[in-house]
């Protein structure tokens, strides 16, 4: 092997190593920070992990929004028209948040079955329904034809 080739080989090895490290980094970060989506029916069926960041979605139940006087704490229920779960949130709700509107919330499920939201998203269009919510409602109404996938992923 000529010195020139040796050097080139070293360069290539260095780059391959770098790419490998960053790929490993990316994959592990991906596994840890992947956000799964669950519907209220799935959560009540015990399919969602507690204490992990997840996303939930559904319609805000009519008449369920309660505010705590003197603070920004709010409690409401999210439903897929069959089952519903309680959500608590502290902060400013999005412009389009209202009862009957489809929302997606990001947060953690507590052991008491209450979902604590860090972020509540309502889409910037009243006619628009988040696709996750649409599917969750269709599945819930369709009589629980949810399939469990290998690896615990839920459809």
């Amino acid at each position: 092997m000529t010195p020139q080739r040796k050097k080139r080989l070293a360069l290539v090895a260095l780059i391959v190593m770098g790419v490998g490290v960053s790929a490993a980094l990316a994959l592990s970060a991906f596994r840890e920070n992947m956000l799964f989506f669950f519907s209220p029916s799935q959560i009540l069926a015990g399919e969602a992990p507690t204490g992990h960041a997840i996303r939930i979605g559904g319609l805000v139940s009519k008449g369920s929004v309660q505010r705590q006087p003197g603070s920004l704490k709010v409690r409401f229920e999210v439903t897929d028209t069959v089952k519903s779960i309680p959500v608590v949130y502290s902060g400013i709700l999005p412009d389009l948040f209202r009862e009957g509107q489809g929302i997606v919330a990001l947060g953690r499920l507590g052991n008491d079955g209450v979902f604590t939201a860090d972020e509540v998203l309502a889409k910037h269009n009243e006619k628009y329904m988040p696709p996750e919510v649409k599917q969750a409602i269709a599945t819930a109404q369709g009589g629980g034809t949810m399939r469990q996938h290998p690896g615990g992923r839920i459809e």
Partner: protein, 663 residues
């Protein structure tokens, strides 16, 4: 009548694009001068008709012609004229027309400023651009005709999405698209070089200024989008890792790699085939960006249009572009590759590392953006990758990259010694580490991350200054030396300085920014970041096409009044959509930001109050980068080269073309 005229102009443009995409290409292949000479007139005529179509659509919007379906869906008679014009690119069909129009402008510019190029090259470059244009015009005419009539005509329009009724959104899409489409020039040059079998320094020098200008536009476009989301979405964030943002950021990363690798190809003749690949990918990612944003495959705040059928066309188009260029590459590249000779430690190697890091960063973002979509499409569950994923992956890849900014320019081409370089830069190493890590001491709470980031920013600035001094040292005086440095060098200096400015902005606003959501009744005061905000209630009022609740917040510091913030909550009449308009008191060192939440049952309001130190530096840094790009592209040697090339015989094929440029 006008919409039909616009439609007809599009059809004519398509015919001309077909001619432009075929005849000059065959002319170049078979050596028929008459056929090649057709490229320029065809490009001009095509551009003229596309411009005409664009003007027709703008006219339909200004005249409130609600018999045109697209106008009826995206405009309203109560809409101010400025937003009627920007509504042209407020949705899918018009965005495509804007795309085609900008392509026409780039095409005319190439036809105009390429007098010095060999006929064969210009025939191929314009030919490739003509084919790209064919794709977009066909797409528009077959699936998304902006001139389609509505029978019967609507009484009034459904209005532009209120989020888009904003000056920032008037200029953001044209800037971004100018960047996206500009990469088509780099792409066309690369394909032309592959077809002609002449991947040499001359090719790199021709395509370099075009690529840098496109990159500068893209930089400004992304910065504008970030600025818009900061003040318009009402959360005060400047980057959300939203798929739409990622869609514009990926071509930017590859574009950045491309302008660096073009530098190596021009000066040293190395990395030729790699440069070609980058040009192909930068343009493909631009197409992907257009596709992701406008086809509605994404579920994000930006996906206003929803029609997956169109997605299939762009996907096929994308497949054709990437597929055919890769096949061409596989066929031609082995013949033209000739690598420059360089040692393990040299500027070439460092630029190669720069390229690898940028491409890896792009790939990690692509994974986080596309993987959830793919899983969803295959019915394997609904997941999403949030900002934590992108931050964890992206930041560690960027750290070595920005450290290289200091080392790269100080390293010689071909061969250097890392110890020598380190010795030359020892002053910068010492000062940046000491001062950088000392900085958070001044801020009260110590943070190692802030110290490291500040050290990196200082490192970039100091090494840049030292490099300028070293490069200017050969002349009689420092001043004479600095004056003798070419514009392209100062372009690099500005752009790299901008990276440092950007890092400072991101670091300080993330570490020391304060964000509070508070409940405020009339007369309540709240302290944020050393400023006292007093809430004086909310008044109702009216704008041109909305009703507004305007809050008043008196801001004072140490008893002295600083400003009065008037955040608004608007309800637009047509779409009955509530919108938050934040009030911002900008400053070079800090922004004060207030947004109204909602009226609580007890009559108080929820109010969002932010203190954002150095947030402007984020966009200031981007402006430095973009301006640096423009400066570099205006370098004298590209103009001199243009004159000289006309007199020169055809360039050398294949290896050996390692001659340095004139300067």
């Amino acid at each position: 009548m006008i919409p039909e005229l616009g439609h007809f102009a599009l059809v004519l443009a398509l015919c001309l694009a077909l001619v432009q995409g075929t005849v000059p290409m065959f002319g170049a292949a078979w050596g028929i001068p008459g056929w090649m000479a057709l490229a320029r007139p065809a490009a001009w005529a095509q551009s003229l008709f596309i411009l005409m179509a664009f003007v027709c659509l703008v006219t339909a919007f200004i005249q409130n012609d609600f018999s045109v379906s697209y106008v009826a869906q995206n405009s309203n008679s109560a809409l101010p004229v400025m937003y009627r014009i920007s509504a042209v690119w407020g949705a899918h069909e018009g965005s495509l027309l804007l795309w085609a129009t900008i392509l026409a402008v780039w095409m005319s510019a190439v036809a105009l400023f390429s007098r010095s190029l060999p006929d064969e090259t210009i025939a191929r470059v314009l030919g490739v651009m003509g084919l790209v244009s064919v794709g977009f015009l066909l797409f528009m005419l077959l699936t998304s005709n902006p001139f389609e009539r509505l029978m019967p005509a609507a009484m009034d329009g459904r209005d532009l999405n209120p989020l888009l009724q904003d000056p920032g959104l008037v200029v953001h899409p044209p800037m971004l698209y100018t960047g996206y489409v500009g990469f088509s020039v780099a792409f066309a040059f690369a394909i032309a070089a592959l077809l002609g079998g002449r991947l040499d320094s001359a090719w790199a020098r021709w395509s370099r200024p075009w690529t840098i200008v496109a990159w500068s536009f893209l930089t400004v476009g992304i910065a504008l989008g970030s600025w818009w989301s900061y003040y318009e979405l009402g959360w005060g964030g400047w980057w959300f890792w939203d798929p739409v943002e990622n869609a514009s950021f990926m071509p930017w990363l590859v574009g950045t790699a491309l302008i660096h690798s073009l530098a190596v190809t021009e000066k040293r003749g190395a990395f030729r085939s790699w440069t070609v690949l980058l040009a192909v990918f930068a343009f493909s990612l631009s197409l992907l960006g257009t596709f992701l944003v406008r086809s509605g495959v994404l579920t994000s705040v930006h996906a206003f249009a929803n029609d997956p059928k169109r997605g299939v066309f762009i996907l096929a188009f994308l497949g054709a572009v990437v597929g055919s260029s890769l096949v061409l590459y596989a066929w031609r590249a082995p013949k033209v590759v000739g690598s420059g000779n360089f040692q393990l430690y040299s500027r070439e190697s460092l630029l190669l590392v720069n390229n690898v890091l940028l491409v890896v960063a792009m790939a990690s973002i692509l994974t986080g953006t596309i993987y959830p979509l793919a899983l969803d499409a295959l019915n394997l569950g609904k997941i999403s990758a949030g900002p934590p994923y992108f931050n964890i992956v992206f930041v560690p890849i960027m750290v070595p990259l920005v450290l290289l900014i200091g080392i790269g320019p100080a390293t010689r081409w071909k061969q250097d010694s890392p110890w020598q370089v380190l010795r030359r830069l020892r002053f910068a190493v010492l000062v940046s580490i000491l001062a950088g890590f000392a900085y958070p001491l001044l801020m009260g709470s110590y943070s190692l991350a802030v110290g490291a980031a500040m050290a990196i920013a200082l490192w970039i600035w100091l090494t840049t200054l030292m490099d300028m001094r070293a490069k200017a040292a050969h002349k009689t005086s420092l001043w004479a030396g600095l004056r003798a440095l070419p514009r392209s060098y100062y372009g690099m200096v500005l752009a790299h300085t901008g990276v440092g400015i950007f890092i400072v902005g991101v670091t300080l606003v993330t570490a020391y920014g304060v964000e509070e959501d508070v409940r405020m009744a009339v007369g309540d005061s709240h302290e944020v970041g050393g400023y006292s905000f007093r809430f004086d209630g909310v008044k109702e009022g009216e704008g041109p096409n909305y009703t507004a609740s305007t809050g008043t917040l008196h801001v004072s510091k140490n008893g002295k009044e600083v400003t009065v913030l008037r955040p608004e909550k608007r309800v637009y009449w047509v779409q009955r959509m509530p919108m938050t308009e934040a009030a911002i008191h900008p400053g070079l060192l800090r922004d004060l930001y207030a947004a109204l939440g909602e009226r609580l049952p007890d009559g108080a309001w929820s109010v969002r109050i932010y203190y954002k130190p150095f947030v402007r530096w984020i966009w200031l840094g981007a402006l430095f980068m973009a301006f640096g790009g423009v400066l570099a592209a205006s370098d004298r040697r590209y103009r001199v080269m243009a004159k000289r090339a006309s007199a020169r015989a055809p360039a050398i094929t294949g290896g050996g073309a390692t001659s340095a440029p004139a300067r």
